[in-house]
Amino acid sequence: MSAAATQTGAPIRAKRVLPGFTLSLGTTLLYLTLIVLIPVIALILKGAEIGPARFWQIVSSPRAVAAFQITLTAAVIATVLNAVYGLLMAWVLVRYDFPGKRLLDALMDVPFALPTAVAGLSLTALFSANGWFGSVLHPAGFPVVYTIWGIALAMAFTSVPFVVRTVQPVLEDMDPALEQAAVTLGARPWAIFARVVFPAILPAWLAGCTTAFARSLGEFGAIVFIAGNLPFQTEIAALLAFIRLEEFDYNGAAAIALVLLGFALALLLVSNLLQTWASRYREASR
């Protein structure tokens, strides 16, 4: 009856090509809020409860400062190792064909899949004074277990896939013509890597390293077995927070956790800035 009227009178509404925008976004936001946002806010509120003076007192106590120092130092060592090794691993996996390549590729996910406590136990078994590696390293005057090197080792183990798995797809997608062009222009292998390949994977590599570093800061399960957990020597920040929690000192735990959170957020910011800088030449293409 009013078909003609609606045809002429109804305003034009652009139809979305993909349906379900409201529903899918709503679900995602709800999930994100429950899983990520509320715990983080609760943590901040818990930390804020105690006031800045008390907060400062907790996080600047000698034991907490030592824990932060140990965590950061070990995470830096682990990240530097992973940055080099992870890049090499991604390169090998993408650029060469060899028997067992797929197996090696799958092995790269083991640190993701393995419960971190299992990783910590096996590392401890290997590196303790009577383990396979430890029995060699200990007499040589380089004990790993119960030192910061042990912590760094455990961190490196759990975070190496982050570097490999972020660099790998970018390396795979690189246009081989870029390297061929460099060859025809007279570039030697090292120059090709340094001036053509590396700049292309730099943003991904930075992103991978930052996530690996953030992961190392928060690693717990793999470390507690190998670290020995001596206050002022091999006690990491996450463990200290856990100890405070066991002592029913919720505020103390929250304050230490907040500092770790602060590190992680600052790192994400730096990482994003670095990535933007490293891929500034792409601005016009999007």
């Binding site: 013509a177 061929q180 062009a181 060859v183 025809t184 222009l185 007279g186 030449y281 293409s285």
Partner: protein, 368 residues
């Protein structure tokens, strides 16, 4: 630099990509390698560049065996189909790459490099783009930068892989003329690969037509156009209509065809194939003819008529839409085919002609 290629072969797995290439190119010549995809033309170009290696054969440039030289030592300029500009470098840095990457002992000073790059920027008419990144350039601009980067090392040989393949028709024509100018003023020996006949013939001194890993014909535009050396070249040059005919004392005959315009051929008697361009066929209404017009389409200037033979063979004819005869040529009309020009080859192994015409013309369509 003169280039001598002989007996070059290359296999990828079980596919013969090059089946024995012999080709000589004179210093300062501009040569086009023309062929459909899969003809091996790009592989040949990459072997000359040192990006691929042949299984057998010789490649000599000015008497030097280039198969003993790595790509870096050959000093060639290579322009890639999709330009392969370094995305993280400005235009200026892209142009300078071939100079700045040299070993310290051979590297020119910074001022020399800067001067050279400036000179190139002006020569290529892209001075205003010097500080942009490749992502900020149009296709035609990228093409110029890619060429400039290759020219910066003053190459002995300039190689271009489908240099205009990714550009609009109008830009193509401009760049074609411009590339000819660049070639003439640098005096380099230039080889480019293309699947576009117009591009090859307009730009090159000589055109090398390649098909399935072999050189089918080498020559100038007119010769290749009028006298294709093989059925492959005939088809590739647009003679997509294949008509079964009989040769008798050098005369070409077939029922339903008016071949009086064709000269006699010094070929043995027997069955043969006549290759004709659709534009060289004019259907003339004739009730006695076994050919019938199936459909008629207009592209504005021309009518394209599809005709079928009683035996099932198909033929296409392009007739100017404003031609006097055009009005009578409607679907369902029986017509004699008057052929203005064509090339005859002895029939190949007596394959049934009815099935031959259609798939081949379709294949060629897909190649373009």
């Amino acid at each position: 630099m003169s280039i001598g290629i002989s007996g070059l072969t290359k296999r990828f797995g079980r596919t013969d990509v090059l089946r024995g290439i012999d080709l000589g190119i004179k210093k300062g010549e501009l040569v086009a390698l023309l062929g459909p995809s899969g003809s091996g033309k790009t592989t040949l170009l990459k072997i000359i560049a040192g990006l691929e290696w042949p299984d057998a054969g010789r490649l000599e440039v000015d008497g030097v065996d280039w198969l003993q030289l790595a790509a870096q030592e050959r000093r060639i300029g290579f322009v890639f189909q999709h330009y392969a500009l370094f995305p993280h470098m400005t235009v200026r840095d892209n142009l300078a790459f071939g100079l700045t990457v040299r070993p310290r002992a051979e590297r020119p000073g910074k001022a020399v490099i800067a001067a050279k790059v400036d000179e190139l920027l002006h020569f290529l008419q892209i001075a205003h783009l010097a500080d942009r990144y490749p992502a900020q350039l149009s296709g035609g601009q990228r093409q110029r930068v890619a060429l400039g980067r290759a020219l910066a090392i003053e190459p002995k040989v300039l190689l271009l892989d489908e240099p205009f393949g990714a550009l609009d028709a109008a830009i193509r024509r401009d760049l074609r003329r411009w590339l000819r100018g660049v070639h003439d003023s640098t005096g380099s020996t230039t080889i480019f690969v293309t699947h576009d006949q117009e591009e090859a013939f307009e730009l090159a001194d000589r055109v090398v037509v390649m098909g399935e890993g072999r050189i089918e014909q080498i020559g100038h535009a007119d010769a290749i156009h009028d006298h294709p050396a093989t059925p492959f070249v005939a088809r590739f040059m647009g003679a997509t209509v294949e008509l079964p005919v009989t040769l008798q004392a050098g005369r070409i005959e077939a029922p339903g065809l008016d071949l009086s315009a064709l000269p006699r051929r010094p070929l043995p008697d027997g069955p043969a194939d006549l290759f004709v361009r659709p534009a060289d066929i004019l259907p003339v209404p004739d009730d006695a003819s076994p050919w019938r017009i199936d459909s008629r389409m207009s592209n504005g200037a021309n009518l394209r008529l599809v005709l079928s033979h009683a035996s099932g063979a198909l033929a296409e004819a392009d007739v100017p839409r404003r031609a006097v005869q055009a009005d009578a040529l409607v679907a369902g009309t029986a017509a004699r085919l008057r052929v203005a020009a064509g090339t005859v080859f002895p029939a190949t192994r007596g394959a049934p002609p009815a099935q031959k015409t259609e798939p081949k013309s379709l294949k060629l369509e897909s190649v373009r």
